[in-house]
């Protein structure tokens, strides 16, 4: 077992992990931050996307030891401490960007990473960026709409595909 220390959502966190412990399991099982989901466990679905040192990564395809010393942000850190949703989360709610909600944590974290680099993406750029996030309710249209709205763009004209 190895001791790891990282900052998760701005709060220092530490624990003992095996070499093979994945970051997502450390977050869920040790830190009890179960908002980060494991959908496929094979790096396909993106439900486990978190930010490590500001970059979106799949927490199921990174070892906890490799996040030692890193700043990690998860879905739990997105809303304000009083529970007020951030702009992206609020847009998902307003535009019905979730159905069952399982993929939502990864979608929101991917959207946050996109908007940080590209504050006014085109619809095509949003869809391309979400390549690694799968919604098995197939609710992509409203997810894209929510992200466009969160970026402050007009969404009423977005036609369903």
């Amino acid at each position: 077992m190895t001791q790891v220390k990282m900052t998760v959502n701005g709060i220092p966190a530490s624990g003992e992990v095996e070499g093979r412990t994945l970051l997502v399991h450390f977050l869920r099982d040790d830190l009890e931050l179960t908002g980060t989901h494991v959908g496929c466990d094979t790096s396909q679905c993106g439900a486990c996307v978190v930010h490590v040192n500001g970059n979106a990564v799949k927490a199921c395809t990174m070892f906890a030891i490799e996040a030692d010393g890193a700043e990690v942000d998860t879905i739990e850190g997105q809303a304000a401490p009083d529970g007020k949703l951030n702009t992206i989360q609020q847009a998902f709610q307003d535009h019905h960007g979730l159905q069952c909600g399982f993929c939502t944590p990864g979608m929101v974290m991917s959207a946050a990473a996109l908007l940080k680099d590209n504050p006014k993406p085109s619809e095509a750029e949003v869809r391309h960026y979400l390549d690694g996030n799968i919604c098995r309710c197939t609710g992509y249209h409203n997810i894209v709409k929510a992200i466009m709205a969160a970026s402050g763009q007009e969404v009423s004209a977005l036609a369903a595909e």
Binding site: G19, R20, S43, A56, M62, I65, D68, S110, L114, D131
Partner: protein, 262 residues
């Protein structure tokens, strides 16, 4: 996953030393290796993580060639090579998905030499040189078949030097589930000739299409490829496409790459 230890050396020398242990294996971005470990297709006793080694990071011009550190992520290449070698930056920008690009590295891709990976095509078509902890290997000698390279046990790709072509383009036909190329062609035009590398198609892994190179060196026009075909007999055939289909796609992708340049 089977049990293993992870070591995180901070220098190439320490990493090479750690890789001397029995059943030790290097770990770069892990975007292929971790799924492989989950499937219990590998059983290392020690993984030597290369991600904390600063000397493996970077994208910079050195003596007229573009040097990229082996531990550099696809996302970094996408940003930092955009001006010096746009075709390569565009290739990096379309590997996997954003989260994969933030972890996966060029050294890992070249060391693995997946028959459908993108970077091997760029390295081969650009006539790149693979730098390791102990020597330099020309791309023409480096790729030795599916998942096979000239690398020795415990040898680390420390960097890659890309000569910069006058023009280049990478055209890939994406297999939509995996986002790997089903077939892709990298065409690089140099003052002394054209190089064409094909990935995703052959059972032998990435290869140079020398007939297309000769035709395009003579006349750089998609029509110069008329009548040239590849044999589907030694091409990968699976549920996504037969060998003959892939052989056909080689021509289509090469043609589109040339059209994108010309």
């Amino acid at each position: 996953m089977y049990e293993f230890e992870i070591e995180r050396p901070s220098s190439v020398a320490d990493a090479v030393k750690a890789l001397g242990q029995e059943d030790a294996q290097p770990l770069s971005g892990g975007q292929t290796l971790i799924p492989t470990l989950k499937a219990r297709l590998a059983m290392p006793s020690v993984l030597v993580s290369l991600t904390g080694i600063k000397e493996l990071q970077g994208v910079e011009m050195r003596d007229g060639a573009l040097w990229i550190g082996g531990g550099t992520t696809h996302a970094t290449v996408m940003h930092d090579a955009a001006e010096s070698y746009p075709a390569l930056a565009k290739l990096a920008a379309r590997i996997g998905d954003p989260a994969v690009r933030n972890r996966g590295t060029i050294g890992g891709s070249l060391a693995n030499n997946d028959p459908s990976a993108c970077y091997p095509a760029a390295a081969l078509a650009s006539g790149a040189t693979i730098e390791t902890d102990r020597r330099e290997i020309a791309a023409d000698d480096y790729f030795q078949g599916m998942f096979t390279t000239a690398l020795e046990e415990g040898e680390i790709v420390t960097g890659v030097r890309f000569p910069i072509p006058q023009a280049a383009h990478y055209e890939k036909f994406i297999q939509p589930a995996s986002r790997f190329p089903l077939v892709a062609a990298y065409v690089a035009q140099f003052s002394d000739g054209v190089r064409v590398a094909i990935t995703g198609a052959s059972n032998e892994g990435v290869f140079r299409w020398t007939e297309a190179e000769a035709a395009l060196s003579e006349r750089f026009d998609a029509d110069a490829l008329d009548g040239l075909t590849l044999d589907g007999g030694n091409m990968i055939g699976d549920l996504h496409g037969s060998g003959a289909y892939r052989a056909h796609l080689c021509g289509v992708m090469t043609r589109r790459a040339v059209q994108a340049i010309a």
